[in-house]
Symmetry: C2
Subunit: 178 residues, 2 copies
């Protein structure tokens, strides 16, 4: 798998934030957030402990940039506390607010999976704590704990589905109002 890509700019943004260490100490908080998916797997406590062990935790101050559009990145993040605004540059080069992301939601999973450049810029709106999970970690989880890997992937599919439903519905309103 995977040719290596230059993720240094993306990492530099991450490393400018406060590093709170391994996710293990945050397993309680993560457990309270991951919730239950309606039809498929639920995360039990052992799953979350294991997942947390792969994560690194970071803290961002309000207005700190967490991810910058166009950088090549290979990790996703799970918002644990706070709130993150998602901005996308429009055709005139202006930053346009797309949505906000709250605890329990993930960000950056598209680049984690497909290796394409970051689609949007993510800026902390409040004091924000989040965990990161890299592509290499995800591959390790799938190999070492296939059942946990499947649960994470189901969670990602569910979230992407919801986001796609929401984005498509918004697009339709714009299309219909012309």
């Amino acid at each position: 798998m995977a040719e290596k890509m230059d993720t240094s700019a993306d990492r530099k943004v991450l490393e400018s934030l406060e590093n709170l260490g391994a996710g293990t100490a945050f397993a309680d908080q993560i457990f309270s957030l991951v919730g239950h998916s309606q039809f498929f797997a639920e995360f039990n406590r052992q799953d979350v402990d294991r997942l947390a062990g792969y994560m690194r935790i970071y803290h961002a101050q309000p207005e700190q940039t967490i991810i910058r559009e166009g950088d090549v990145g290979d990790y996703m993040l799970l918002v644990i506390r706070g709130e993150v605004d998602i901005y996308k540059r429009n055709l005139m080069g202006e930053q346009q607010l797309m949505t906000s992301v709250t605890p329990g939601m993930t960000l950056g999973e598209m680049s984690m999976i497909d290796g394409e450049p970051r689609f949007a810029t993510c800026i902390a709106l409040k004091e924000t704590t989040f965990g990161t999970l890299t592509r290499d970690d995800m591959v390790k989880i799938i190999v070492e704990s296939p059942s946990l890997g499947a649960k994470i992937l189901i969670k990602l599919v569910t979230m992407l589905s919801q986001r796609l439903r929401h984005t498509s519905a918004t697009l339709l309103q714009y299309m219909g109002s012309r």
Copy 2:
């Protein structure tokens, strides 16, 4: 898992199409379509044979409806041959063409995963052959063949990511042009 939902209307639409039987006979064609994901798992021939064994294959004539917006459904489909148009009803109740789907792409995976009603109507544009995979099958695959389950889920995450990137970019154009 899963309270049972009334999927009879959705099934009725499916059963109005020509049923070509189990997917096993279509494994060659499916293998040539699933391709390779860039960073993660690739489907080998054994995976595809196994996946095809879970699928049912259907054939639709041009203009036949395959999925109807609002129905509660629990399967996704993989287009094997032909082309499918995706329509969504806008605020004025008119069907609006959202996109077209070609061989190798999936449809209906959102309802398969999250159990929400079908988001859009899918109509065959040409003679179209497709395979279906139900939620129950997906659960079975994850339990019986976790590594294949992970590969399918990665494929879904990748496709949803690409679709979300595309839809968000289109939305941004509309937002920016006001």
